[in-house]
């Protein structure tokens, strides 16, 4: 068994039927504005599902409000007494609503989703990828960001020393302080990378309105780079925490 892709499916915007199956009037995307009946799900991307443009600066308060409003219309509780077909549509629509909301409300998940939507393959920096690599004996793609090379090298030496000391039951406060400092510096970089990412959002949103395909590709590539560096630091901090706890 092989997985060819992981995570959620990418759905391309589709053609929506324009009239309600039940009363025939013009309808909203997910339910009929005239009779309130739930409609069959149309395969659309998460941004389109909420009626938003494919932009990253997102008003999460407005998103939550829309999420609540759509939940009141689509949730299976509302259709508990309806026919089987309507209940099935409601289940499909509300699961899509929840999946979309969960993805869009989180800034990182939102960015990753947009990248995949735009056909950019994400680096797997997760712990799970590490485990898989360890189990299969394959080398994991792990590019150390250039600006971190020196720092990471030193930190790894310190961590190795710490592990040896722990095994011997020794305790070196100076070493722990050194590692603590390195961790703090990494955490600061981690936070700074989020700000960098937000900067790219603004550029992306502007390029959606008036920009060339080439501009957009460049922004996407930069966002991917920021995410990768961020993931790398996150994993490093996790390693530090594990080494200090064990």
């Amino acid at each position: 068994m092989t997985q060819t892709e992981s995570k959620s499916s990418l759905i391309v915007p589709g053609e929506a039927s324009t009239s309600c199956w039940s009363c025939g009037t013009m309808r909203a995307t997910h339910f009929c504005s005239a009779c309130g009946k739930v409609q069959p799900a149309v395969p659309v991307d998460y941004f389109t599902f909420f009626g938003f443009p494919r932009k990253l600066e997102l008003d999460t308060t407005a998103l939550e409000k829309e999420f609540y409003a759509l939940s009141r219309r689509l949730h299976p509780d509302v259709f508990a007494q309806s026919a089987k077909q309507e209940r099935a549509w409601s289940l499909e629509q509300s699961s899509m609503l929840n999946d979309a909301y969960r993805t869009l409300k989180d800034p990182i998940k939102r960015t990753e989703y947009l990248l995949r939507l735009e056909g950019v393959a994400l680096e797997e920096q997760s712990k799970q990828a590490t485990e898989t690599a360890r189990a299969t004996g394959e080398l994991k793609k792990q590019v150390v960001p250039a600006d971190l090379l020196e720092e990471v090298f030193e930190l790894n030496l310190h961590l190795e020393e710490l592990r040896i000391q722990k095994k011997a039951g020794e305790d070196d406060p100076a070493l722990l302080e050194e590692i603590g400092k390195a961790k703090l510096s990494l955490e600061e970089k981690y936070d700074a990378l989020f700000e960098e990412l937000r900067g790219e959002w603004k550029k992306w949103d502007a390029a959606v309105d008036k920009g060339t395909e080439e501009d957009r590709r460049k922004i996407l590539a930069r966002m991917l780079d920021v995410l990768n560096r961020r993931n790398y630091i996150r994993n490093l901090v996790r390693d530090v925490n594990e080494a200090m706890e064990n």
Partner: protein, 657 residues
């Protein structure tokens, strides 16, 4: 619209309740004994009459099962002590679990696992000489609740909302749903217990804010953090332990008492089921007493006439239970962390579950959140009341519930096993449900037509540390070159927290057939068989119940007549009237001894008619006695028992209204 009642049921480890929303407020439907709580205890009485039938005439109607009489609730509690091998309690702990999961429980609970259990078979527990799966035992409790509701409404009840611990996994949820089906209930929704409690709380308070529900019950612990916003109840995070509750405190106290008895009285009672149950009962009473008073006395009669006597103070009790109640801290902190909230950001902490009556537990909650918890709600009833609110919402809602909507989450991450035995999480815990994820699979060998998928639930990295939910076989993949098929598998967790899987081969557009092999649980067919069996019994039960009720009514009218015959009014009847009444009396006596319900009914009706004039005359006697200035007390003495003067007829009203 009698057939449309949707009831809310709290199927608890220790007690179960059924509730219904009447007008604007939910209320508990009491049992025939007038009590709201139905202990989740099931016992089998011996079938032979005059045997161990200590339940008396007030227990709920008999419920025959393979020649045994099934007793549920308060009446069944006596059996725990008198015939411990014919009674079972806390069966919720076994729901959706395999025999290898429950070894720890077996050390602490007197569950007797069936001897002939095959590997991979659903767990069966012995009660008397019969064996039952945990869903079947739960179904017996549910059927009692269903019956209580039917009595209340005077009509059938077939739809219900049932609550489950928020931290229940897929198998435990499925087992609960199966129990509902076996009991003849269409389970419209499984609702998480703390969430249900928040509905009852929210209905009363109608305030926006962040609420934490700390639900420490008889067998399970849940913590849920919700955002209440204009009628939307959005669960942000949930956590818990499905094997942590008052039971654990009881077991700890029992173990201490048994050691104490062995040391002090040189008696090893560990294998004496009856003695252990006596000690258990005393320990539970002591635990409850210590919630309201600083000390209590234990006095248990032991076999051989010895007594175990002790005084326990709260100061002794609290350090003993500290390790148990401290186990609630970890899940609580994790839920706060998942919700990305600090304790100070919680606007209200609501306490649910009987174990939150313990002052030390309240203190712990107060320390965890830095605020006094909300204790206005009855911790035993609030979950059932909330289930009734949800039942009302599902039924279309009413003026007070029409703005209310529950958005719950899945408590555990859903994953699939990938290369190297690693879990790939596809739906993370605390995702709002319904939730879905789509995965793509292909083949590794040319012409391969089957693909196996292993679904897991849990937070651990390695598949072997997670709970195995099911193994799926995607069958009928069109034969193609390896790597060519593209099979889309959709995993969907519904609003009950139960997983559904569908698959499609994209290149051919062919729906792949899925064979679900649940790792723990009954197949649809098994449930169907149990359902049919219980239907058979249900009909039998109903007939039995009718006969018993008719007999009771016959006895009442016969007693009234006996009294009437001693009154002066009897002499005022004509000789023909007296002969007629006496022959009708004999007819009823003989019908009453038979099993024919309609014959008893007919004889009651006939006697009723035949003594109409007697009743009138007795009435007159009473009235004239009163006019003569006789005290009403004496006049009443002339009236048939249980009758008020305006009723004036020696027939008790039917019990069913």
């Amino acid at each position: 619209m009698a057939s449309d009642h949707i009831v809310g049921i709290d199927l608890g480890t220790t007690n179960s309740l059924v509730a219904y929303m009447q007008g604007e407020t939910p209320g508990i439907i009491p049992g025939e004994d007038g009590l709201n709580l139905v202990p989740s205890v099931v016992a089998l009485a011996n079938a032979n009459p005059g045997g161990n039938n200590s339940a008396g005439p007030n227990h709920a109607g008999p419920n025959r099962d393979g020649g045994n009489q099934v007793i549920v609730g308060n009446a069944a509690r006596n059996y725990l002590i008198e015939t411990p091998d014919r009674a079972v309690y806390s069966v919720k702990r076994l729901m959706g679990r395999g025999v290898e999961d429950i070894q720890d429980e077996l050390k602490l609970f007197p569950f007797r696992v069936a001897d002939d259990l095959q590997p991979g078979e659903v767990l069966r527990i012995k009660i008397g000489e019969r064996t039952y799966t945990p869903p079947e035992i739960s179904a017996l409790v549910l059927r009692q609740l269903k019956r209580n509701a039917e009595r209340f409404f005077g009509g059938p009840v077939s739809k219900a909302v049932i609550t489950v611990p928020a931290y229940f996994n897929d198998a435990q949820r499925q087992a609960t749903k199966d129990a509902g089906r076996i009991a003849g209930l269409d389970v419209l929704r499984l609702v998480n217990e703390p969430t249900a409690a928040s509905l009852a709380y929210g209905l009363e308070k109608r305030q926006n804010g962040i609420v934490a529900v700390y639900d420490f019950g008889g067998g399970t612990f849940d913590i849920s953090i919700l955002k209440l916003h204009d009628g939307i109840f959005e669960v942000i995070a949930t956590n818990g332990d499905t094997h942590l509750g008052g039971d654990d405190i009881d077991n700890l106290l029992i173990a201490i008492a048994l050691d104490d008895i062995q040391g002090d009285l040189k008696l090893d009672l560990r294998r004496n089921g009856e003695a252990v149950q006596r000690i258990r009962k005393a320990m539970i009473e002591a635990k409850i007493a210590l919630s309201s008073q600083p000390s209590t006395k234990l006095d248990v009669e032991l076999p051989g006439g010895k007594r175990y006597q002790r005084e326990i103070t709260r100061e002794m009790f609290e350090p003993l239970i500290q390790p148990v109640i401290e186990r609630t801290i970890g899940p609580t902190r994790q839920a706060l962390k998942d919700a990305k909230l600090k304790p100070s950001e919680i606007d209200e902490v609501v306490l649910v579950g009987g174990s939150t009556r313990i002052p030390k537990v309240r203190q712990l909650v107060q320390d965890l959140f830095g605020r006094t918890p909300h204790t206005d709600l009855n911790p035993d009833e609030v979950v059932a009341l909330g289930a009734a609110v949800q039942a009302n919402i599902l039924g279309g809602g009413s003026a007070v519930t029409k703005e209310m909507l529950l958005l719950d989450v899945t408590p555990l991450s859903l994953g699939i096993e990938v290369a190297g035995g690693v879990t790939d999480k596809i739906i993370l815990r605390n995702s709002t449900i319904p939730a879905s994820a789509t995965q793509y699979y292909t083949t590794q060998i040319d012409g391969q037509t089957n693909v196996a998928i292993h679904v897991l639930q849990g937070e651990r990295e390695l598949a072997r540390d997670c709970r195995s939910l099911a193994r799926f076989d995607l069958k009928g993949v069109p034969p193609m070159v390896a790597g060519m098929p593209r099979i889309e598998v959709k995993f969907l967790i519904d609003a009950n927290g139960i997983l559904h899987v569908s698959a499609r081969e994209q290149r051919s557009g062919k729906e792949a057939e899925i064979e679900v092999q649940p790792s723990y649980g009954l197949t649809d067919e098994q449930v169907e068989n149990m359902l049919l069996e219980s239907f058979d019994y249900a009909e039998e039960d109903f007939r039995q119940r009718q006969v018993i009720e008719a007999r009771r009514e016959a006895e009442t009218i016969l007693a009234a007549l006996a009294k009437g015959k001693k009154s002066p009014a009897w002499q005022e009847l004509t000789a023909v009237e007296r002969t007629n009444a006496e022959s009708l009396e004999r007819a009823l006596i003989s019908a009453k001894d038979g099993d024919d319900y309609s014959a008893i009914r007919q004889a009651i009706g006939a006697l009723n008619q035949g003594t109409m004039r007697l009743a009138e005359l007795m009435m007159d006697t009473a009235v004239s006695a009163a006019l003569k200035g006789k005290a009403m007390d004496d006049a009443d003495a002339d009236l048939p028992e249980g009758e008020t003067s305006q009723a004036g007829h020696p027939v008790a009203k039917a019990e069913f209204k």
